[in-house]
Symmetry: C2
Subunit: 128 residues, 2 copies
DNA sequence: TCTAGTGTATAAAGACAATGTACAATTTTG
DNA sequence: CAAAATTGTACATTGTCTTTATACACTAGA
């Protein structure tokens, strides 16, 4: 489980952790039912407080991606566990933001589509 | 100039404004040299403090997208104005995040590429 | 020059993020 | 079954970030 936090990232630490866990789940490296490390262990590895990790776990639980049980650990939830799907617009907004950055960086249409295809391939490499 | 701020967005208001302005610039609706509304006007339209807008303007100036002059207004900078290009990783990170969301929402590869192509087309519609 | 219009600086209030410590639930061990 | 170890949770505290109100400074035009 390779997770890192970047001081200069801008996003709060708990969100960085949550996002990285999401990515691991999306690509299947954390399969359905898999046990996550205890908050203390992950917190120790990252050099942050255990509560910071706990907040990340709870955020993913709220999205239906994790099952967190007091006393026992946290596990990856079933893929169709009753998590409400984000709205169409909710999904498109980050796409638009990312593409805006690429356009402003001067990339051409074909370069952009290639880059996206590239990332998507990497993401789906080991996925469900 | 249609800009809106969303209370429930999570991101700070000044960043929402900055991101929307970026999108307008990327798609050419705010062309090179175009004058931006005064901070007080935009702030009034959005119902926020003028400083909040000013912070957004300054952020874009720091990225080399705007020329802000004390006393005169803010204008869109030349497209190749000495703005340092974000690193490759800096560009890919948002792409990865957006794609992660799409994958977790259950979209298939072809659906994702179609959605991205769709957004990119909209973005490049009137661009430079 | 004066005035209206523009961005800027500063301080204060409130919200948020990260932490330290103590608590509660579960699992393991004997 | 009881005790200990392991795990997540609650809460108060500290510091940082956001947003605001108010006053200031620069520019352009009459």
């Amino acid at each position: 489980m390779h997770i890192t936090v970047d001081e200069a990232d801008g996003r709060p630490i708990y969100r960085q952790i949550a996002d990285e866990l999401k990515a691991l789940i999306a690509r299947g490296e954390l399969a359905e039912g898999a046990q996550l490390p205890p908050v203390r262990q992950l917190a120790g590895d990252l050099g942050v407080n255990l509560n910071t990790v706990a907040i990340a776990y709870r955020e993913l639980q709220a999205e239906g991606l994790l099952n967190v049980r007091h006393g026992a650990g946290a596990t990856v939830a079933a893929r169709d566990a009753g998590r409400e799907r984000p709205s169409e617009e909710e999904l498109r907004k980050p796409v638009r933001a990312a593409l805006t950055g690429l356009v402003l960086a001067g990339l051409q249409r074909t370069e952009i589509m290639a880059l996206v295809g590239d990332e998507l391939r990497a993401l789906l490499k080991g996925a469900k």
